[in-house]
Symmetry: C2
Subunit: 526 residues, 2 copies
């Protein structure tokens, strides 16, 4: 039963409710969009969040169930934030001593713990000297995460995925010399356009392109590939200039890369496609000063609810309710709550005693995860001052694969360079098995094939192999989300990026937690 709040005239909620009575949920959703309450778009998460926020408000005059959120990663934090806003008694229980989970930013003095090592970060104390060991970029269409950044005042800046001045390198291409991405991209466009123009002019595509269209299509191809008037690719200033030209004298195009070198290499021609993908194309972003600004912004709102250093040892049913057993240091204890939203990574969760249903246990046991590794160094920004590279990623041989240049603090004296980022696979396994010192040496050996200045500049290497990080035990899921985990299992609800089709993205974590809240709303009937 809803009661009119004394003294209030019709509220926005009541207005929405009336629309709801007339036209159902779709009408409410549309009305919320027109009232500016909701961002229109493709994300069911936004609808789930709005529904949660709206419906949970109706329940304020009844006794609300108590919810425990297990894990203070982005999934747990966003779920708990919404629970608290809705007035729910809730606890967030986190084994670590910080929020964020895999969202982990390291600065001078921080410690990075793996199962067999602990590294202390030795970076200088400077707002731009940080290492995002976990997620390090946000897509502009990750609207649910970005809405939280707006709501929690987390400043964002551009992150550069696609820098045409960064290098593409392979020991088996271009004589082992790095080339600039702009050289590769220009040569591919030019060669493809030249070949297609040749086929069109030879009449090979007359079925597809009518004679009337031919001149227009050829004109487009000339522009696309920077071809000559005769549809030849003979190089272009897009790829860069010959030394000494383009200032006081006319720009002369650098010599183009050869077709054979580009197209027939097993890796090189595939590199530029990375930044064409939906989640990696510009504009990418990052929080100013480190990804954990998001985690701490949530945690700031949950100071009374968040409990650090508590390791869950059993997740039990107790009648219709949940009994959680755990320990904090040497102390053990248990609490009972009405519901639990469980965001503990499946690789960790499968080792915790539980009363989950058989299908849920099976699903948790079957999640497969990536084993990403990263290493970062502090260094003078020689890539900016000597090589004209401001942000972005160079691609090289699979032993280290990528070199990331900082997207913030351009022009500063020092910067943090990510000396390798491996998504998983055998090279990541090799890297993970090394000691921290050996990883540094490996990153230097392979990195100096791209940047000869490497060894004399890089210092304070700090590495992570996520499979060896306690309470994470791996990176993102590489198996598809199990539908059974997207639903409630009695009083147990699950969240985490592994339950979304955006694994490894914080947006996936938020989408999953909004789904858990929608499931909770279904069960509590608020």
């Amino acid at each position: 039963m809803k009661k009119k709040v004394p003294g209030s005239t019709q509220t926005r909620r009541q207005f929405l409710h009336r629309i709801g009575e007339a036209g159902g949920a779709a009408a409410v959703y549309q009305a919320m969009i027109s009232m500016g309450l909701l961002v229109p778009g493709d994300a069911r998460a936004a609808a789930n969040q709005a529904r949660w926020r709206e419906q949970s408000r109706h329940g304020l005059n009844v006794s609300l169930p108590t919810v425990a959120v297990l894990g203070a990663g982005i999934a747990g934090l966003s779920a708990a934030y919404e629970l608290k806003k809705a007035g729910y008694p809730c606890y967030v229980i986190e084994a670590r001593d910080r929020p964020g989970g895999r969202n982990h930013t390291l600065r001078g003095g921080d410690v990075l713990t793996e199962t067999d090592s602990a590294q202390q970060c030795a970076f200088d104390n400077d707002p731009e000297l940080y290492f995002n060991a976990g997620p390090a970029r946000i897509s502009q269409h990750h609207k649910n995460l970005l809405a939280y950044c707006r709501e929690l005042n987390v400043p964002l800046q551009a992150f550069i995925n696609d820098n045409r001045g960064a290098y593409v390198h392979s020991r088996s291409a271009f004589g082992g010399q790095p080339v600039r991405a702009r050289e590769l991209v220009t040569a591919m466009r030019g060669t493809i356009a030249e070949l297609l123009a040749k086929a069109i002019n030879a009449g090979a595509l007359d079925t597809e392109i009518s004679f009337a269209e031919r001149a227009q299509v050829l004109s487009v191809l000339r522009d696309y590939g920077a071809l000559s008037a005769f549809h030849r690719f003979e190089g272009s200033t897009r790829a860069g200039l010959q030394a000494g030209t383009g200032g006081l004298t006319p720009a002369q195009a650098a010599n183009p890369l050869a077709y054979e070198d580009v197209f027939l290499h097993p890796d090189i021609p595939y590199v530029p496609s990375f930044v064409e993908t939906y989640n990696q194309a510009a504009t990418m972003m990052q929080p100013v000063g480190g990804m954990d600004r998001i985690a701490y912004a949530f945690a700031e709102q949950l100071q009374e609810e968040l409990f650090y250093g508590v390791e869950i040892t059993a997740i039990r049913r107790s009648g219709q309710r949940v009994r959680l057993e755990g320990r904090a240091g040497a102390e053990e204890g248990a609490i009972e709550v009405d519901y639990a939203i469980i965001t503990i990574p499946p690789t960790v969760l499968r080792s915790i005693d539980n009363d989950f249903s058989a299908p849920v246990r099976t699903a948790i046991s079957q999640v497969q995860v990536a084993t990403p590794t990263k290493i970062a160094f502090q260094s003078p920004r020689f890539w900016e001052s000597e090589e004209d590279i401001y942000g972005g990623i160079s691609w090289t041989d699979p032993e280290i694969l990528q070199i990331w240049y900082p997207a913030g603090g351009f022009g500063n004296a020092q910067g943090i360079l990510v000396g390798s980022y491996l998504f998983g696979g055998s090279d990541a396994q090799t890297f993970a098995a090394l000691s921290p010192a050996q990883r540094i040496e490996r990153a230097l050996v392979y990195g100096e094939q791209v940047h000869p200045q490497y060894r004399s500049n890089l210092s304070r290497g700090l590495s992570v192999a996520w499979q060896k990080v306690p309470y994470s035990a791996g990176g993102w899921a590489i198996s598809n989300p199990a539908p059974v985990l997207q639903q409630a299992d009695g009083p147990f609800l699950f969240a985490g990026d592994h339950l979304s089709y955006l694994p490894g993205w914080q947006e996936g974590a938020v989408i999953s937690s909004m789904q858990a809240l929608a499931n909770l709303a279904d069960m509590t009937g608020v």
Copy 2:
């Protein structure tokens, strides 16, 4: 005659000088590179600057000539900064009351003056609410300008030219509906790759691609164009997702744009090439808080040398020297100096009495300039919160051509949106002829075809037509630099981006001023 400085051991300069005696200028340059004094690269400007700095140091124990720098734009400021560092007596004479010339950033309270209007900027007072009326981006390979940003501690951030979420729109394409850049780019890559694969499979390119290479080239094309296993382009998630997919359910590709709509349009297929050009490709940058941070950083170093509000009325020879006549308000006066570095735009300079040689006068009279226009508005950032657009440029019909979204302050409540940027041509002339109020209306009428939210959000429009701005009288040069102006004309030296092959870029201004200093060094024999 060089004298050993009393008490000094061998200095770096002396060391370099010895190398110079042994191997000439090239050896000095190489040595400076290895000693880290110089950035290696293609810019003669860097060599000119280094030569100036080195040679001018030799002259410190002789009587130095006095140099007047006319104009405090980036050319004049960088020349004066070097002169001052070298100990030269110099004056910088500027007609305006601010440094920067076309480098002009407007904030709340500033006034934008044209020949027939004066607009007061009504933006709110906030570090991110500014309008770069002139240059607004810096290429990462503009190394001379960027070296000054480093030296003068001007913080930089990424500027987004290529945002795949921004719109491409034309009233004569896609039913007049804006499409996302990612849709267009993906369709072009897909269609081109599909057509080429078809021609290859039909054997039309057997001369170019051997049978042994065919499988590899087809594999590259599949990746390039996101083709199906049968080499068909049937859409790709690169272009975006179908509504409601990709979160809790698998991502489904949006319907692809049709070949006819993309390739046969007279403008649309050419739009994406813009960001492939050498000077516009990522990473682009901007100073944090406004482009004029560069101008003010120089001016800060030239507080005693800079004279604002002085209009030069005549540039005369007086024997071997220079006589400058001018006025400051109602007062008139004249000074004599040994040399003048003249950075006054040619469109203004040609109306000032002068004693230049006949070829120089002709060259100055023949410089043709662009007539760019811009307009900016303050607005809530609906493009971020409602349309997932963070920075970048939407392209639309030629009446307004471009809409720029701010690259700084992501997530803030308010932002400055550039509602039109025209490089010149008839639409720019039409725009320039309008009153400030009419320009606002024109920008709204055409802009709301791209963003229906325009009129209810945008306010405080502020526009510029550079041809009507006093002391600028136009934008950048569209004719080639005249070699005669790259040299000294007696005591007269010239600088300005119009003397470089980077017109309209501040880097061109710096390159030209380093050339003027090199010419000065030649004449003074320091």
